[in-house]
Amino acid sequence: MTFSGFKVIKEALTGYKGWGPLWRNPVPKPSYDIVIIGGGGHGLATAYYLAKRYGQANVAVLEKGWIGSGNAGRNTTIIRSNYLLPGNQPFYELSMKLWETLEQDTNFNSMVSQRGIINLIHSDGQRDAYRRRGNSMMISGAGARLLGRDELRQMVPFLNFDNARFPIKGGLMQERAGTARHDGVVWGYARGADRRGVDIIQNCEVTGFRIENGAVQGVETTRGFIGAGKVGVSVAGSSGRVMGYAGRRLPIESHALQAFVSEGLKPVIPGVITFGAGHFYVSQSDKGGLVFGGDIDGYNSYAQRGGLPVIEDVLEGGMALMPMIGRARLLRAWGGLVDMSMDGSPIIDRTDIAGLYFNGAWNYGGFKATPAAGLTFAHLLATDTPHETATAFRFDRFNRGYVIDEKGVGAQPNLH
């Protein structure tokens, strides 16, 4: 089944009888060439690119709940490539390029909307830092524009430009950034992978690894043993738990990150606005809800919910930045689990166990990375060598002293 305008019209005229399920619900086979643990955006994208670009179709994706029920369904859907450091920025720009062609590639409406992102500037020092970041973005081809106060005021007149503590002096804009429909991304990759022969096995929780002579043989699951030539772990948020089954400790702590959405409103916010100084960022969904968030709760958690102090902190940031938000009602608040790593950057690498591969440590930024993480993890699984754009994301960068620390705060995960 291929989606097209013609097909939509035809179905509308014939009672929608031609729409079928987008993927199968297969019984797991005894073994696969490659088993991917985690049916989120990253795991499904990995399976999709394995099948499409690397000719690997004997692949299973194991998901303990339903696909997209973890962080893929809990994020604030922002896509951007506005990083600073050489290990990070080209990777996120690769992801941005894949976002731009995602819908044509998967033949699925993922509602990618390049409405732009603005990071607000409050001081001369911050302007210098953002000018430097903008230069780094331009070197990678991502594009960047430094906005003056007057230009910014025309674009977003509702902000409180004269806040006593953080007056707004300008902004750094990436025009190609924006948002995407998180579920649409998951469904598009799932459908594309399934059509190419990948088995997506839901309600199948991995409970352990079978490792013999230092090589992985397969995984123990709630639906029995599944053999595998290679296993890819792609379970960010629960990385510590799953890699613990293999007896491995990681440079990661799991933390809770909350997000919020208001009632639906008429279009008011043109793109994504980040107020780093006040721990607040906001965009508006196509349905009209203001989608916003702030900092992680700051202590280890596997609870998928946060506490009231951070809710208060985020809402105070919102009121300080755009007082009109006080007129909107908060509809929902929720939490997800994030892998906070020791330098704030991700890991896509082999492990010391033969056949066991790891993709995780995405901190609070995994959603935007979905296409590139899938592509580069697929490359690693298929070829046993890192993708040229993801060579910096190795486990041993910590031992070797090559950390990728965007904020420069050191090995303190709750500060990244």
């Binding site: 596997y302 102090p309 031992n399």
Partner: protein, 93 residues
């Protein structure tokens, strides 16, 4: 979240800052062979358990003592809190 401070009773977790796994109390001896690898593990690797976790909290807005708090990371239930200095002294005996 309320932390049962051993000296001050129940205190709001907002008065504290969080450092992480209480294993950070066990700093390796830099004079032993293999100290470099031990320090890499000490600085960068964590158990990160889903369940009972012993962790360091600093009473920054209070009496500025360090506590070892035992807390369940699945439920956020706090099981106990001790002065880190007592934990360290107990481990040394």
């Amino acid at each position: 979240m309320l932390i049962p401070h051993p000296l001050l009773g129940l205190r709001d977790a907002q008065e504290f800052t969080y450092l992480g796994d209480a294993s950070l109390l066990n700093r390796p001896d830099p004079a032993t062979p293999g100290a470099e690898a031990a320090f890499c593990d000490y600085v960068f690797l964590r158990d990160n358990p889903a369940g009972v976790h012993r962790e360091l909290w600093f009473h920054e807005q209070g009496d500025r003592s360090w506590l070892v708090v035992t807390r369940n990371t699945l439920t956020h239930e706090i099981l106990s809190a001790e002065l880190a200095s007592d934990v360290k002294a107990g481990a040394a005996q």
